[in-house]
């Protein structure tokens, strides 16, 4: 397998977050429109200026990107629909970047939007996927909590990781969230509170779980020239990977597709994990954060306990992680949760964070993980971003 | 002006010098029916399925579908019921002359004998003794056999079915010959489930009541009640079977008109 072609003539800009709310009576369409309006405010672009549209959502049914385009008055010459939840940010970026690089589109708006109506979470779960409907959710209907409880318990046993280790990650992310005015969690979390929280599905406890909410995220992919014309700070893409349904032989998931492709990622990026100034990884549960750190090359899994103990994951720390608080503290707005890592990574290197700034941040690792179709996450992806221009 | 018999009857009914006695058991699903050996076809009990009762199947009306055998509950046996009457004219309920539906009755009380012996057999000798005491049985009468058996309805003793068959009183062949040929009875009216005795299958000839009554165009009335309320002579029985085309019998309402002497 040859090296990935470099992303040339691509600029990512205008990270956009529509403030989350716990419950919303509005639709995904409303939230997508809110994201575009916010994007327009930052960029000055109107519907006619956007010639590419990439969309991700769980709650837009019966519409796909097609319905959304007509609903929101767009007339793009390129569009895509990304149904991969937590991996959708990286995947949208990959597709939009190549479209711009090849001239299929010049200004691509990538939007993820989801609402959270009363009871819509349960309904989304009940019909989430064919396999989960047939073979997971009727088994206690614990939702992802139960599935990740199985994964977490197995991971702890296999690699000697304890709850305290996961707790350190959650506490650090909460610390990061306290500076983010848009984070839903606004009070500090101590390790004691984490440890004594009520059990949800052993060994997953309350603070291992995200809070479902409504919200939207967006960013723009365009050419460096257009970014300059619009006066937007921009970042370049150093490398990306994507892998689906890897390691089907594992009885319980303890690794993701990153492990298969990480070498290609770092080789193309021309750097190593230690060169990253911040890491924004998908964090539906802390076990997945730990899994990504290992699978993406920060340490080996048996060394995770020591690695996590040795690092400080807060914004001023040795490895700033999920600097907006991540989904665990900022909230999980459906598919927008899969864009959050990308918009936050982008904000840090473009020096426009929602909360505190990671000092000297110029490079970010963004990692996505999506879609528990059955007993494990199927979709994985990662991207290495670097500051291009500050304006 | 002489008043017609019917006017007189109407007056008597009005002033209660003539009373109506109901001789009918209530038709209900649990009223017993005759039990034949299991390999024979069986008599269907009374059944009732509601069609509507002021509900969505009929908001303002109540009615039921009912089903039963022709010989269920208080019922009438036409001559065609028995093989001996199969070739007689007018042998089915629809053809029986209406005149026969109204006839006087003579009540022969064998309740003491039946109480002492469930298998009590009514013989010609018994009847001759009875006539010696009460006078001759008039012609064209129902012979109403009072056994007080109706008081056993609702208990296992009504059918009185033992391992060797049913045990209930009834006539033998010679008694039936006497009643039919020498007293020209209209028919035999009983409180038991059949005109024949429970063990009459083993008589010689077998089942003489059915055989002789129906072979001579006479009728049966079964599962009657209240025969103890009738006088020995003078009661008038009104028993009108349903006009079932080609029917062998019919459930029916049976009443008796009885004169009451003023107190």
């Amino acid at each position: 397998m040859g090296l990935q072609s470099p992303y040339e003539g691509v600029a990512i800009c205008a990270p956009t977050t529509v403030p989350y709310v716990r419950f919303s009576p509005e639709s995904a369409h409303w939230w997508a429109g809110a994201a575009l309006q916010s994007l327009a405010q930052t960029t000055g672009l109107g519907p006619a200026d956007i010639d590419g549209f990439c969309f991700a959502s769980f709650s837009a049914a019966p519409d796909t990107v097609v319905g959304m385009v007509q609903h929101l008055g767009l007339s793009p010459r390129w569009m895509d629909h990304i149904p991969t939840g937590g991996a959708s940010g990286v995947m949208a970026l990959r597709r939009a970047a190549r479209a711009v690089q090849c001239g299929d589109a010049e200004v691509v708006a990538c939007v993820a939007a989801d609402t959270n109506q009363i009871d819509s979470y349960r309904q989304t779960l009940a019909g989430f996927s064919r396999f989960s409907q047939d073979a997971t959710y009727p088994y206690g209907f614990g939702g992802p909590n139960a599935t990740f409880a199985l994964i977490t318990g197995n991971f702890m046993r296999q690699f000697g990781v304890t709850r305290e280790t996961f707790g350190k990650l959650c506490v650090a992310q909460r610390q990061n969230a306290l500076s983010n005015p848009l984070a839903l969690m606004k009070t500090p979390l101590t390790l004691d509170q984490y440890m004594s929280a009520r059990p949800i599905s052993d060994p997953v406890h309350l603070f291992d779980c995200v809070m479902p909410c409504a919200g939207a995220e967006a960013f723009l992919v365009t050419t460096p020239e257009k970014a300059e014309e619009l006066g937007l700070s921009s970042a370049r893409v150093l490398a990306t990977i994507e892998r689906h349904n890897a390691f089907t032989e594992d009885s319980v998931q303890f690794r993701g597709g990153w492990e298969r492709d990480r070498e290609a990622l770092w080789q193309r990026a021309g750097c190593v994990p230690e060169d990253m100034h911040c890491v924004q990884v998908y964090d539906d549960y802390p076990v997945i954060v730990a899994m990504q750190l290992a699978d993406l090359g920060f340490c080996e899994k048996p060394d995770l306990t020591d690695f996590i103990a040795a690092n400080d994951f807060t914004i001023p720390g040795s490895l700033p992680l999920n600097t907006n608080g991540g989904q665990l503290s900022a909230g999980q707005a459906g598919a927008a949760g899969g864009f959050q890592n990308l918009t936050e990574g982008l904000r840090q290197i473009l020096r426009c964070p929602l909360g505190d700034q990671v000092p000297e941040a110029a490079r970010a690792l963004v990692s996505g993980f999506g879609l528990v179709n059955y007993d494990r996450g199927v979709c994985t992806g990662a991207a290495v971003l670097e500051r291009q221009a500050l304006r | 002006m002489t008043r017609s018999p019917l006017t007189l009857l109407a007056e008597a009914l009005a002033d209660r010098t003539v009373e109506c006695i109901d001789l009918t058991n209530t038709l209900s699903p649990d009223f017993p029916v005759i039990v034949l050996p299991a390999e024979f076809g069986q008599c269907a009990p009374f059944r009732m399925e509601k069609v509507s009762r002021y509900d969505d199947n009929g908001p303002a009306w109540y009615w039921n579908n009912i089903s039963m055998n022709e010989h269920t509950g208080t019922h009438f046996d036409a001559p065609a019921h028995w093989v001996t009457g199969k070739d007689l004219p007018s042998n089915t309920v629809d053809a029986v002359p209406a005149q026969d539906f109204v006839a006087p009755a003579v009540v022969i009380d064998i309740s003491n004998e039946a109480a002492a012996d469930a298998d009590f057999v009514l013989t010609r000798a018994f009847l001759e003794d009875w006539e010696a005491q009460h006078g001759e049985i008039p012609k064209r009468h129902w012979i109403a056999l009072r056994t007080d058996w109706y008081k056993r309805v609702g208990t296992p003793d009504y059918l009185n079915l033992k391992e060797d068959g049913a045990h209930s009183p009834g006539p033998d062949g010679r008694a039936m010959e006497f009643l039919v040929h020498e007293r020209d009875c209209v028919g035999l009216a009983v409180e038991t489930v059949g005109t024949d005795a429970g063990q009459a299958f083993h008589f010689n000839p077998p089942l003489p009541a059915h055989s002789i009554l129906h072979g001579n165009g006479r009728y049966g009335l079964q599962c009657l009640t209240n025969l103890d309320k009738l006088p020995t002579f003078g009661a008038m029985i009104i028993a009108c079977p349903l006009k079932i085309e080609g029917g062998s019998g019919s459930p029916l309402r049976v009443i008796a008109l009885v004169e009451r002497t003023p107190a």
């Binding site: 199985l150 059990p199 319980v252 | -």
Partner: protein, 412 residues
């Protein structure tokens, strides 16, 4: 070992019965097909017609070679790789039954499956896999200890997948036959608290009456399935106290269709067998549905014993077979109606029984004890279709393989 189930207390009249919910019921067609095997107590997975690889969850094509798939019986062995105790659910049925234990099982047959766990099963254990029907009639994988353990059936989670007679009150509709009596005795032996034993004709003695009525736990009741009033009256008396209905009533007489047949027998067999079944369901199903999840002695099952000839017809017993076919059809309808209420609708298929009406048929015939064992098995396993005796097993297997051929074979 499992804690023995407590003897249920009498219901607190001030307490609202817990609503009889069922687990989420949305399933693919493939999963629904899996349910047809679960109903027989078989443990099946899909096997590829081309490459023979075994797959799970239910798929429509083989993930190894894209060949077509066929359900096939599998080795029941498995190892539990991971375990969790779910303490929170957004589904109301499971909320009522928290905590709930599930696990990841590596099946000896190959695939990995999320499974329900018996209380005694722990991470790392070797287990025996069972495929059951859940309360909504959907297929469910349930891991139980490899070897029988004391009170194993009393596991509260397992009990959601069975209609175990233990501590329950059972109505046996016809106790006048040796079969009805054997079933009543077997149910008491299996732990039933009370057997209400139906008598269609209380004024008429029957063989064994004195002995069975003297047995502790037996309560004779008047019940005649051909009489709507009788059924309604008993339902009014017992409706809230009957947890399991076992319909042992039936009317079988020899006879063909055009030859050697009695229409009155045909009517009687339909009136008792088919219409009687509907009367029984109308009388008891509504009250049972309302209390399908109200504790140890919740209402659990409606079971019908039906001649297997209902599947195929049977020469010499055409009317009885036709009535049996009607019963099977009504039971299918009832199963659909009860799926939302959590009451199991179970059929026990039987070959000719060893009674007065099958004197001329050759052996093997089903003895009352055999039928009683099948009934107890169907209830303790919550199994939708159970064959009692070799004739039923043979015919059912032939019918599954080729229904039209079986109909020919049984009608010549």
């Amino acid at each position: 070992m499992t804690e023995p189930l407590p003897i249920p207390k009498r219901k607190d009249p001030l307490k609202r019965s817990r609503f009889g919910l069922v687990p989420p019921g949305l399933r693919s067609r493939a999963a629904s097909e899996m349910a047809t095997f679960a109903a027989q107590g078989r443990f099946v997975l899909q096997s590829c017609d081309r490459c023979r690889s075994i797959t799970y969850p239910p798929r429509d094509r083989c993930p190894s070679c894209w060949g077509t798939l066929t359900w096939a019986d599998q080795d029941r062995g498995a190892r539990i790789e991971a375990v969790t105790t779910i303490r929170h659910s957004t589904d109301n049925f499971f909320r009522n039954h928290m905590p709930w234990r599930i696990g990841t099982a590596r099946l000896d047959a190959g695939p990995v499956a999320i499974v329900h766990l018996h209380g005694e099963v722990q991470q790392g254990d070797r287990v025996r896999m069972t495929l059951r029907l859940d309360r909504g009639g959907n297929p469910a994988l349930f891991a139980v200890p490899q070897k029988e353990t004391p009170n194993m059936q009393d596991d509260p989670q397992l009990r959601c997948f069975t209609a175990d007679p233990k501590h329950r009150r059972v109505l046996v509709t016809d106790g006048r036959t040796a079969i009805g009596q054997a079933i009543a005795r077997a149910l008491l032996k299996a732990g039933a608290q009370t057997v209400f034993l139906g008598d269609a004709d209380p004024l008429m003695r029957y063989p064994g009456k004195a002995e069975i009525e003297a047995q502790e736990g037996i309560e004779p009741v008047s019940l005649n399935l051909t009489d709507s009033g009788s059924v309604q009256e008993l339902a009014a008396q017992l409706g809230g106290r009957v947890d399991i209905v076992v319909n042992t009533a039936g009317f079988v007489r020899p006879g063909g269709v055009a030859f050697g047949a009695k229409l009155s027998d045909l009517q009687a067999t339909f009136d008792l067998g088919a219409v009687g079944l509907a009367r029984l369901a109308q009388g008891f199903a509504p009250a049972m549905s309302a209390r399908s999840d109200d504790g140890v002695n919740s209402a659990a099952a409606f079971l019908d014993i039906v001649p297997v000839s209902g599947l195929s017809g049977q020469s010499g017993y055409a009317g009885a077979a036709a009535s049996a076919a009607a019963r099977l059809s009504l039971m299918s309808g009832l199963r659909g109606e009860m799926q939302q209420s959590g009451i199991r609708v179970l059929s026990v298929l039987t070959g000719p029984v060893d009674d007065d009406w099958h004197q001329d048929l050759p052996q093997p015939k089903v003895a009352p004890g055999q039928l009683a064992r099948a009934v107890v098995h169907a209830l303790t396993e919550g199994q939708g279709i159970t064959c009692a005796g070799d004739v039923a097993k043979d015919l059912f297997a032939r019918w599954q393989a080729n229904p039209l051929l079986t109909m020919r074979e049984e009608n010549r």
